[in-house]
Amino acid sequence: MKQYLLSVCYPAGGSQPPPAALNKIMSEVIALRREMQSADVWVFSGGLHAADSATVLRHQNGDIVLTDGPFIESKEQIGGITIIRVPDLDAALLWARKLARATTTPIEVRPFMEHPS
């Protein structure tokens, strides 16, 4: 079994969908999480606040320096993550496809490194 990170990407600074559409998305995402849980592939999932709520810590001359704002200013932000445990990439892509349909946003699939045993 292998773990994959499914990240929900959306354009930074983009406007939120209207409440009705957002509610529909949310209920579909919750339904999909239940489906993942009953298929026993779900490890973790959660939505994130906007990137400007982030704080970055950097190691600098032996000190840790804090900066306000995201790590990298980028056109895409991660709006939420899901971690699943499945046999291979094809299985991960199948779930990612469902997630992309539910969220209507791009989904990035990325494999975790194996745990050192």
Binding site: P87, D88, L89, D90, L93, V109, R110, P111, M113, S117
Partner: protein
């Protein structure tokens, strides 16, 4: 390669092992003679080399895994090599890999072409290509892209990617996009070999037969495509130079497709080419039938390129003026053949100055030397009319 990749689960490891096995074969076979089953010998030798390496590098738990692998290899010694090739084709053409990487991986791992040969065929730097290939192999390993033939539900979509890769290899061989040569026959041969392999392994899939028929019918004209170093278009080709056996094979495949009656884009394109192949001269071409086939193609897979080719048939059936109106409505500003077709129609309708500027646009967009020479000759001949 395919057998070892399945057992070892790692393409790079399999490649290194196969290379070692070939090196040993080169050293031994000239003096000891070629073994009765050269492929079997190579697989066994490569497997032993890979397992040696695993044992050397592995921790204890991995050593157990290696021992288990060895068992499995020995049990499945008689396993059908073709099935392994099919699995590996689907891995190489996985949609999670970029299309150019799919092509390069397929040629490297299924076709057995060297990185240098692939780089030469696609005019890439060998080092850059080698980097892309090793990145792709790392992705296959790290993301755990499986070695298997997709399940029935996924098969049609996944097969489309595989067929697109095979046809891309063929097209790059038959109408090389850049460089000095028109044909890179080794790519055509390899694409046809892959087509045959797929047709043997998934015989029920009509589009595979359609693609194989299409490639055979086009490739049959290879010998007439270049004369005296110059590119010759279909209408000007010496048809006695066409390869009858390839045409017959393509036709036979088309007959099988027809009885199944599940038309698809490759089958329709093959049918169009079969009509060309049946004409004893360009003037005797059944353009009405070709136009009907293009109409069908437009209804199942409409695209600007199909519309352009359809317009060529329209010119023969309904006249040049009609075709020119269609071509003017198509948006393909960066495709050299769009401008070449338009130039030809303008020339035929007597708009010489417009034809000349269309030829210049075609020349601007064309990167193959032989095709450029051809367009240049066409453009220069305008002045003499």
């Amino acid at each position: 390669m395919a057998v070892l990749t399945r057992f070892l689960g790692d393409i790079s490891l399999a490649e290194e092992a196969v290379q070692e096995a070939f090196a040993i074969a080169l050293a031994r076979w000239p003096s000891n003679g070629i073994p009765p089953s050269p492929a079997g010998w190579l697989i066994t030798t490569a497997r032993n080399k890979a397992l040696d390496r695993l044992r050397r590098e592995a921790s204890r738990s991995e050593r157990q895994h290696a021992a288990q692998l060895l068992n499995e290899v020995e049990q499945a010694e008689e396993h059908d090599v073709n099935d392994d090739q099919l699995r590996l084709i689907f891995t190489c053409c996985h949609p999670a890999l970029a299309p150019d990487v799919q092509v390069a991986l397929t040629l490297r791992l299924i076709g057995g072409l060297s990185t240098e040969e692939i780089a030469h065929a696609f005019l890439l730097q060998p080092t850059a290509l080698a980097q892309r290939l090793s990145r792709a192999k790392a992705k296959i390993r790290d993301a755990n892209i499986p070695y298997r033939v997709p399940e029935a539900a996924e098969l049609p979509a996944r097969l489309r990617t595989v067929l697109a890769v095979v046809y891309l290899i063929f097209n790059e061989g038959y109408s090389t996009s850049s460089g000095d040569e028109v044909l890179r026959t080794e790519l055509c041969d390899e694409a046809i070999r892959l087509g045959r392999l797929l047709a043997t392994l998934i015989p029920q899939e009509s589009e595979i037969l359609g693609l194989l028929a299409l490639m055979l019918l086009i490739d049959a004209r290879r010998g007439a495509r270049v004369a005296g170093g110059d590119l010759v278009l279909l209408s000007g080709q010496d048809r006695t130079l066409w390869d009858e056996s390839k045409i017959d094979e393509g036709r036979a495949l088309m007959r099988i497709c027809l009885t199944r009656n599940r038309p698809g884009t490759y089958q329709l394109q093959a049918a169009i080419n079969a009509v060309h192949s049946s004409a004893s001269s360009a003037a005797r071409t059944d353009w009405r039938q070709i136009l009907e086939l293009y109409d069908q193609l437009m209804s199942i897979a409409p695209s600007a390129v199909v519309a352009l080719n359809r317009a060529v048939a329209v010119a023969e059936v309904h006249g040049v003026a009609h075709a020119l109106r269609l071509v003017d409505a198509i948006e393909l500003p960066n495709y050299h053949l769009y401008h070449a077709v338009r130039a030809d129609l303008l020339r035929r309708i007597g708009r010489t100055a417009d034809a000349a500027s269309a030829y210049r646009l075609a020349l601007d967009k064309c990167e193959n030397k032989k095709e450029r020479d051809f367009l240049m000759r066409q453009c220069q001949s305008l002045a003499r009319h």
